[in-house]
């Protein structure tokens, strides 16, 4: 077996362990180096993945598959991990537990990457849990911060419940088909489709993935956790771990359980509509920017799940492309919030809610680069042309209309209009409301991470064609894989 095929995962694992061990022997002052090390590791893994684009292989007794879909999502996760580690350099400054922060982040990334390439439900579940456990700990990284602890606790409890439901779902599938291998399930799913257990299995699995994707009503942990966790961790959760749920759902439903298409299409239709509407409407009234972003990310998840309803190659490609765009937009927005939080906390240590929208007042003058990047991110999230968000919505919505789901597209477009209400509010605070406060210097690693994300958002929006093609290629794996 060619180990080069899992070289990206190995690189991340080795980097994670190295960071952990080196960190033990370093004094707190010099732990900054760990962040650079972790970023370097992610960068190498990213380079390795990009260089192996186009390879296809089955590894580890056919339980892991390398194909266009897995490569695409691996790159999404690695890009998010890169933003996470770069921003983390600043966030962990002076923290004695720096090595844990990066190691946990890297381990979560490995989990996500293996979910992307899983070809067996057991591998998928274990990788899923690896990513989940690492992020539970990350959410509670600020051990002295009661909000952070609460966030981690809620995330953990609901996460465990969802994992149990998912495992139950997997056991039903195994019971009916006698296998956990994804292609074999697809081949043997006739029995499952004809039995009433089928619907139950589908819904249980949906609950498990819906927890990660944050679909209503499995979403309730998300606003609390995104708000309570450190912003950099929220970025990883919203931009990375959410996509893990999506790729897992793609593999399990579109490939393995394609025979039960009728059932889960209805389920996704219901959840997509509820999720996007609920997310957008509730986001309107939020005063905490992180909470607002959490609800916005519910809404975005709602749009992405439209791909499951439409289920044409273009729609799936659009959904996958949306996942990539959302990675840049949402990670960028959370990191921008992290920069603002950092500024607020360095001015006033005991600030109760540093991410309150009032703190964005006059940001255009106080932190011009952060404000500009944040503007790009929220406009992209709202779907303003020339950004990644616009192209994603355009591909996804137009394919929805093409396939005759006009009602769904209309709901989605109305939702986009509502969403502008709260996205524009952030821009209004940043540029149009006056402030007496001084201009402050912008923390360098945050700025770098934001600029990378902003360039990504604009590049995907302006030069989208190759990326859309690439996403379509990834989607074609789904539609031919199950045959």
């Amino acid at each position: 077996m060619n180990l080069m095929l899992v070289a990206p995962e190995l690189t991340i694992a080795v980097t994670g362990l190295a960071v952990l061990l080196i960190g033990l022997f370093l004094p707190t002052d010099s732990k900054k180096i760990l962040g650079y090390l972790a970023s370097l590791g992610v960068l190498i893994a990213l380079a390795l993945t990009v260089s192996s684009l186009g390879t296809e292989a089955l590894l580890f007794y056919n339980t892991v598959s390398i194909d266009a879909l897995s490569q695409f999502f691996k790159i999404v996760f690695l890009v998010v991990a890169l933003l996470f580690t770069i921003a983390g350099i600043k966030y962990t400054e002076g923290n004695s537990n720096t090595e844990e922060f990066f190691t946990l982040g890297l381990f979560a990334t490995i989990g996500m990457m293996f979910v992307a390439s899983a070809n067996d439900l057991m591998v998928l579940f274990v990788a899923f849990e690896l990513a989940s456990l690492a992020t539970y700990a990350l959410a509670g990284f600020e051990k002295k911060n009661i909000k952070s602890l609460e966030a981690a606790m809620k995330y953990f409890i609901i996460g465990s419940l969802s994992a149990a439901l998912m495992l139950l779902g997997i056991s039903y599938v195994y019971g009916a088909t006698g296998t956990t291998s994804i292609p074999e399930i697809a081949a043997n799913s006739a029995t499952l489709a004809s039995s009433p257990i089928g619907i139950v299995a589908v819904v249980l699995l949906l609950a498990g993935f819906g927890f990660k994707i944050a679909l209503v009503p499995f979403h309730m942990w998300a606003p609390d956790t995104y708000q309570g966790s450190p912003s950099v961790v929220s970025a990883l959760l919203a931009a990375g771990s959410k996509k893990m749920g999506i790729v897992a759902a793609l593999k399990v439903f579109v490939v393995a359980l394609i025979a039960l298409k009728a059932d889960w299409q209805i389920a996704f239709a219901i959840l997509a509509v509820i999720t996007m509407t609920y997310g957008n409407v509730v986001a309107l009234k939020q005063t905490s920017v992180k909470r607002m972003l959490a609800y916005s990310s519910l809404a975005q998840a709602g749009y992405i799940t439209m791909a499951f309803v439409v289920l044409t190659p273009i729609a799936l490609g659009g959904g996958i492309f949306y996942a990539l765009s959302h990675g840049f937009m949402k990670a960028g927005a959370f990191i921008a919030t992290a920069a603002v939080t950092y500024m607020v906390l360095s001015e006033n240590k005991d600030s109760a809610d540093p991410d309150h929208i009032e703190n964005f007042r006059g940001l255009g003058k106080r932190m011009p680069i952060t404000a500009l990047c944040m503007t790009i991110f929220v406009f992209a999230l709202a779907g303003i042309p020339l950004t990644a968000g616009y192209m994603s919505k355009f591909v996804l919505f137009s394919s929805t209309i093409q396939s005759g789901f006009v009602w769904l597209a209309v709901i989605a477009i109305l939702n986009s209009a509502i969403s502008l209400g709260y996205y524009a509010k952030i821009v209004k605070y940043m540029y149009f409301l006056p402030t007496d406060s001084e201009k402050v210097s912008e923390p360098f690693p945050y700025t770098i991470a934001m600029i990378i994300a902003a360039v990504g958002v604009l590049a995907l929006g302006f030069w989208s064609e190759p990326f859309v093609h690439w996403a379509m290629e990834a989607a074609s794996v789904l539609l031919t894989g199950g045959m």
Partner: protein, 670 residues
């Protein structure tokens, strides 16, 4: 590395300079002027090298295209037409930037000024380089935005803010027509391909458009009961855009008001970066115009009429810059006429129009910069308060007189002695004569020759009133610094000798843009398509026709000298509100009343806007209701989020159970 590979840098460098100056300019001396100057100087050198290379090796046209998306591309094209424009724009813009370091030295926000002028130049260069009509349009709009920013540079002055708005809105009318033209063109081409465009074919690229001219001409539309060929429709819509940008009648109203910006901005707009864009557009798409029945006639008539119309207003203005503004409008009319005579002389028209464009850029930039020098020194631009400035500012006076000689076109016909304007303007007037002979319509020629007299009158009136005689008020003043006088001298040299040195080479070089080049068009067969009969041979005009423009120019000089120099006529008596002709001219043919008070206010504002408001109110109500409702809903839905994790778990379990039931129910119903 061959210099052609650097062509893309020509617009990119000034664009980068814009970013750098915008962010860092405040921290640098003179507002960071050095950044755009260095960038544009480099662009100029690249442009010049490419032009020289093209002159030596006409087949080495720079053409690089990259797929943008689907059937559209981004790319650059440097053929003779683009090359001379690039060289001129970078050269003039460079001199204006150098001059600005002196002129803007007392301003509050020099870094904003230099950033915006750099972007202005970059947009214009991008426009010229575009190898497809869509990219050209994008840069065209960028030019419009920059002109808005720069005309309103002193936005705290209400008149400047108004002028900026007026320029933006007026040119917008043209832009909408241009865009409509592009849309019609696109859909026609798409139809011609039957919606099946092969890979690697970008349908809005110029060579692709030109290749399908016969197909476009075959499509007919029925407009108000008239059979109109689509190619005529498209070219006239394009020309509509050019009318707006290049200040042709009746969309010229913004140009004189655009004087509200700094004088250097006026120089940029009038000489290099904006108004020439319209002429360039028509020149660029000339193969389409010549294949379009009636289009070139329209171009010729509008151009000639604009030339004389603006000339008449130029002779009564008392504001230094306004005289120059009307002069620009008038000269642009000449350029359009130069293109319009293509109906008689074919692709040679591109050469003569472009030649006049380049020469005009030199002497008009010079005129504006001289005027700026006077304004900078004495602080006023009302000619009635000036007089005798020549004694205070000798260099400025000499260079301004040279520019005026170039504008009026003083030279000896049949030889190569003469100012730049002489070669290009006379060429246009002579070809207008040929146009009259061929098509039998003499109005354009008559207009153009009469405008030559007016040109001479208004410009020498300006010279006499400003530089001659005794000061009429006590204005003080001094000669401008070297950073201003050196660009003046360089431009003066160009205005004097450029025309004489290059006339033959230039015309053949540019006229061959569409023959044996990136495209090889059969101009005469296209002309047949457009129903034009090209003249067999050129340059056989009677002696009188050759000498008439010069006679007109000299006559103007004599008349103004008699009136303003020797004062044999008491102008104060003639110039009174009781003289109906003066009143008509001074009030600029009441365009303001017609355009602003009647069309804008009465028809558009009160007519359409009030009707629209009723509809708007209805929409407003719906939108408001919708937003109130969603905000309300948001508030109540928030209550679900209790914060207690037990409730969350309940929601998950309930959700699972409900979903199973829901799916069952929906399956049954469907």
């Amino acid at each position: 590395m061959a210099v052609e590979n650097l062509a893309f840098l020509i617009p990119v460098l000034p664009a980068l300079a814009f970013v750098l100056t915008f962010f860092l300019g405040k921290k640098l001396p003179t507002g960071g002027a050095i950044i755009p100057i260095a960038a544009i100087a480099t662009s100029f050198i690249i442009s010049l090298l490419i032009t020289l290379n093209l002159l030596a090796n006409p087949e080495e046209v720079v053409s690089q295209s990259y797929s943008w998306f689907a059937i559209l591309n981004v790319g650059i094209l440097v053929d003779p037409l683009a090359a001379v424009m690039l060289t001129m724009v970078t050269f003039v813009s460079l001199l204006i930037h150098i001059y600005s370091t002196g002129y803007m030295s007392h301003d509050k926000a020099p870094s904003r000024y230099f950033a915006e002028t750099a972007l202005f130049t970059a947009s214009m260069l991008g426009l010229i380089l575009s190898d497809n009509i869509l990219q050209l349009f994008i840069c065209w709009e960028l030019v419009g935005v920059c002109s808005y920013l720069l005309i309103g540079f002193w936005f705290e002055k209400p008149s400047a803010a108004t002028a900026a708005k007026k320029a933006f809105l007026t040119t917008r009318i043209g832009d909408v027509m241009f865009l409509t033209g592009i849309i019609v063109l696109f859909s026609d081409l798409f139809k011609i391909f039957n919606g099946n465009v092969p890979d690697g074919v970008y349908i809005l690229r110029f060579d692709e458009i030109f290749a399908h001219i016969p197909d476009l001409a075959a499509i007919n539309a029925n407009i108000f009961g008239m059979e109109v060929s689509h190619i005529t429709l498209i070219t006239l819509l394009f020309f509509g855009g050019a009318v707006g940008k290049s200040g042709q009648f009746p969309l010229h109203v913004w140009l004189p008001d655009a004087m509200e910006g700094p004088t250097t901005v006026s120089a940029l707009i009038h000489a290099a970066t904006m108004v020439t864009a319209g002429v360039y557009l028509v020149a660029r798409t000339f193969p389409m115009f010549i294949a379009a029945p009636d289009s070139l006639m329209v171009v010729a008539y509008v151009g000639a009429f604009t030339a004389i119309f603006a000339g008449t207003m130029g002779i009564v203005m008392n504001d230094l810059k306004r005289v120059l503004a009307y002069s620009t409008v008038s000269q642009l009319g000449y350029m359009m006429l130069g293109l319009g005579v293509g109906a008689a002389v074919g692709s040679e028209a591109v050469g003569i129009a472009l030649f006049h464009l380049i020469n005009h850029a030199f002497f008009k930039a010079l005129l504006f910069l001289c005027a700026g020098s006077v304004i900078h020194a004495v602080g006023t631009h009302d000619m009635r308060q000036l007089g005798g400035v020549a004694k205070v500012m000798p260099i400025t006076a000499i260079t301004m007189i040279i520019a005026s000689l170039a504008l009026t076109g003083i030279g000896i016909p049949g030889t190569s002695i003469g100012t730049s304007g002489f070669f290009s303007k006379d060429a246009i007037i002579e070809n207008a004569y040929l146009f009259g002979e061929t098509t039998g319509t003499w109005l354009p020629y008559i207009f153009s020759i009469a405008a030559a007299l007016l040109t001479s009158i208004y410009i020498f009136r300006l010279i006499f009133m400003t530089f001659y005689g005794k000061p009429r008020t006590d204005y003080g003043g001094h000669e401008s610094p070297a950073s201003m006088t050196i660009p003046l001298s360089i431009l003066a040299l160009c205005a004097l000798v450029f025309g004489g040195l290059t006339t033959k080479t230039f015309n053949t070089f540019v006229s061959e843009t569409f023959v044996n080049n990136f495209v090889n068009m059969d101009i005469s067969s296209l002309a047949t398509l457009g129903g034009y009969h090209l003249a067999e041979h050129a340059g056989e005009e009677p002696m009188l026709i050759l000498w008439l423009p010069l006679i007109m120019a000299l006559a103007g000089l004599v008349i103004t000298f008699l009136i303003y120099g020797l004062k044999i006529v008491n102008m104060d008596k003639l110039v009174s509100r009781n003289n109906p002709i003066y009143k008509l001219l001074y009030n600029r043919y009441y365009q303001n009343s017609i355009f602003t008070n009647f069309i804008s206010v009465k028809v558009i504002y009160e007519g359409f806007a009030f009707a629209g408001r009723a509809v708007d109110r209805g929409f407003d109500w719906i939108v408001k209701w919708f937003s109130d409702f969603t905000l309300e809903a948001g508030e109540s839905l928030r209550q679900f989020q209790t914060g207690a994790v037990q409730n969350y778990a309940t929601a998950v379990i309930t959700g699972v159970s409900l979903l199973v039931i829901l799916i069952k129910v929906v399956m049954e119903v469907l």
